[in-house]
């Protein structure tokens, strides 16, 4: 079952001056439970594609359907609401709120959703334990290593019970051990809880773990390889 469908997606920057086709006619679908990586060199358009998938950017033309909702025509405030309830984000630079503890960072998104205290606390403990930080609940980001911060970010991304998680270069700032650890956690969550993960990356370690690798060049998909051999 497809949870994401992209149809003839275009994104053109600087439309009045020099036109840059960041995304040029992309057709793509994702099914529930995928562990996919969008790869490509810098400037290939993978981040733009990911941003449009996440409702952070709007397409110049084309259609993005997520769970039967066409998000390409949603207003700004509808998109914010859509992101809150449907999409989890993991960013390259962790982007945790520095004045909040690990626990509070994870809880924050549930506050935005208006979830009750008991539910927030139970889910936070569950998620931080799942990413191996059950003993660091009250640590602030400055007291955590890069790998630990990124694991908190993963827990935060999952806290809102999203339909899928978008991770933009999640391992770019991590050492090998932390990368391995993080990818193992995400892979486990994907397999055990059927959570869909879509990465934008050029990290070979992520590509190795991904079960589907979509290669983007000059805004176009040049290959879409599934690890079971299908293309």
């Amino acid at each position: 079952m497809n949870i994401i469908e992209l149809k003839d997606l275009h994104k053109i920057y600087n439309e009045t001056e020099v036109e840059v086709h960041a995304v040029n006619g992309v057709d793509l679908t994702f099914e529930k439970g995928e562990f996919a990586a969008i790869v490509g060199p810098s400037g290939s358009g993978k981040t733009t594609l990911l941003n449009m998938l996440g409702g952070l950017d709007t397409p110049t033309s084309g259609k993005i359907t997520i769970n039967n909702t066409d998000i390409s025509h949603l207003s700004g405030s509808q998109l914010i609401d859509f992101r809150l309830w449907n999409i989890g984000f993991v960013f390259q630079a962790y982007n945790l709120i520095p004045v909040l503890t690990a626990k509070e960072n994870v809880e924050f998104i549930m506050h935005l959703q208006g979830r009750k205290k008991d539910e927030r606390e139970a889910r936070t403990n569950e998620l931080l334990t799942a990413v191996g930080l059950g003993d660091r609940l009250n640590s602030r980001p400055s007291k955590l290593s890069g790998g630990q911060q990124q694991r908190v970010a993963v827990a935060r991304a999952l806290a809102s019970k999203p339909k899928f998680v978008l991770a933009d270069e999640p391992t770019a700032n991590l050492d090998s051990k932390s990368t391995e650890n993080l990818l193992d956690i995400m892979e486990r969550l994907n397999k055990e809880e059927n959570i869909t993960f879509i990465f934008a990356t050029h990290d070979a370690r992520v590509m190795k773990k991904a079960r589907r690798v979509i290669t983007v060049e000059d805004g176009k998909i040049v290959s879409d390889v599934r690890k079971n051999g299908d293309e």
């Binding site: 950017d57 630079a93 982007n95 520095p98 004045v99």
Partner: protein, 409 residues
């Protein structure tokens, strides 16, 4: 109640302790400066109004309908004692006295000047005005002597006429029949109020002495002055007195001396304007700080907007931070102002070295700052409003960010 935004705002403030402390200190000093100046200004006006009411105007006055327009001695209140007895029955009345008044000329061997002669019944006058309290021990007495034709003059008039205690002053004026008359009065006391203009013009003699010289009919006067337990009850008491003596003209202090009321109202208004201007300037300082904060936290704001924080919640988060900055600074400013007003309200600030000019305008030579609870509430509301308004511009700046770009900043 969801306090996460408040918690974030509070902790964010202390991310840069020095910067936040400087802003808070600016608010503290600005508010204290404004409140202290306003308190002094208000204290001076309150003092002026109080002195004017206690020494001169009292709370309600009754005259013949034409007396105030012409000041002629034949515009009399007849049966003064009967009217006074009726007024005394009112529970709100603290004291009542009658006066005979006449313009005249006071002269000594060397000088002469125009004056208002107030013929008073000393014991009754004590119930209404504080003139008896304005004589220093070394400057005579308040009608202790039973001898006739004694006079109280002010220190200012004494200087002007070159007179001392026991000096003789010749008073001339027109009597009830229109004939020029006069008498020789011996200075029994020298008084000094805080109103130089009043002092320069007013002398006090016994009513019985003045009535005799004026050839006034028995049991008559020109003015009945009433002091109330609470000056704010003046309108209520006036509405009871007026119908009881419709043949005479009764008016309250704010109609007798409209400038007193006007000055009080103006001072309240000035305090509002003064504090608004100060808070406007402080608001700009807060806006500037918050713009720096927004710039520094571009990534953070991009992230929270990306994960789903809506515009209103972003505004609330920034507003909490600006409002806390304003409120903490404001609370300290108010606290210092309360201490300042309490201390100097009791001790007073002596400005006698530069006070002569003030005295001629009716202000005292000791300033006692006055700020009421309502004034503080007004300032607290203004601080809140400043915090909220100061958060609008930084919020607009924050909301203009595109989350995707902000995160990659």
């Amino acid at each position: 109640m969801n306090l996460i935004n408040l918690r974030i705002a509070w902790r964010n403030i202390w991310r840069n302790k020095l910067r936040s402390s400087v802003v808070m200190m600016a608010v503290t000093v600005g508010l204290f400066g404004g409140l202290a100046a306003s308190g002094i200004m208000k204290g001076m006006v309150v003092d002026m109004v109080k002195n004017s009411l206690e020494n001169q105007v009292s709370h309600i006055q009754i005259h013949h309908k034409d007396f105030k327009a012409n000041n002629e001695v034949d515009f009399l209140i007849e049966n003064s004692s009967g009217i006074i007895e009726r007024i005394k029955k009112n529970k709100e009345v603290k004291g009542v006295c009658e006066r005979t008044k006449s313009y005249g000329m006071a002269s000594t061997a060397s000088k002469a000047t125009g004056i208002m002669i107030n013929g008073i019944v000393p014991e009754k006058e004590k119930q209404v005005t504080q003139i008896y309290n304005k004589l220093s021990d070394s400057l005579g007495n308040y009608f202790i002597s039973d001898k006739k034709n004694r006079i109280l003059i002010s220190e200012k008039l004494a200087k002007k006429l070159n007179a001392k205690i026991k000096s003789k002053i010749i008073i001339t004026f027109q009597d009830y029949n229109g004939d020029l008359t006069g008498g020789s009065f011996k200075v029994e006391g020298i008084y000094k109020t805080q109103n130089g203009m009043f002092d320069e013009q007013n002398v006090f003699v016994r009513k019985v002495d003045l009535d005799k010289l004026l050839d006034m009919p028995a049991n008559s006067s020109h003015e009945i002055a009433i002091l109330l337990n609470d000056f704010q009850k003046a309108p209520e008491v006036l509405s009871q007195i007026k119908p009881a003596i419709p043949e005479y003209f009764s008016e309250a202090w704010y109609d007798i001396e409209p400038y007193l009321k006007f000055t009080s109202t103006l001072t309240e208004f000035m305090l509002l304007i003064f504090m608004s201007v100060i808070l406007l300037a402080l608001g700009f300082a807060i806006v500037n700080t918050m713009l720096m904060v927004i710039l520094e936290r571009t990534k953070e704001l991009g992230m929270i907007m990306a994960i789903g924080m809506n515009r209103f919640k972003v505004f609330k988060m920034i507003m909490y931070e600006t409002t806390i900055l304003a409120i903490v600074g404001g609370a300290l400013g108010i606290l210092v102002s309360v201490i300042f007003t309490w201390y100097f309200g009791n001790v007073g600030i002596d400005i006698s070295s530069v006070g002569e000019g003030f005295e001629s305008m009716g202000f005292g030579s000791v300033m006692r700052p006055v700020l009421e609870f309502a004034d503080y509430i007004q300032v607290i509301v203004l601080v809140f409003i400043t915090g909220i308004i100061a958060s609008i511009f930084p919020t607009i700046r924050a909301l203009k960010m595109r989350p995707a770009e902000a995160i990659r900043n």
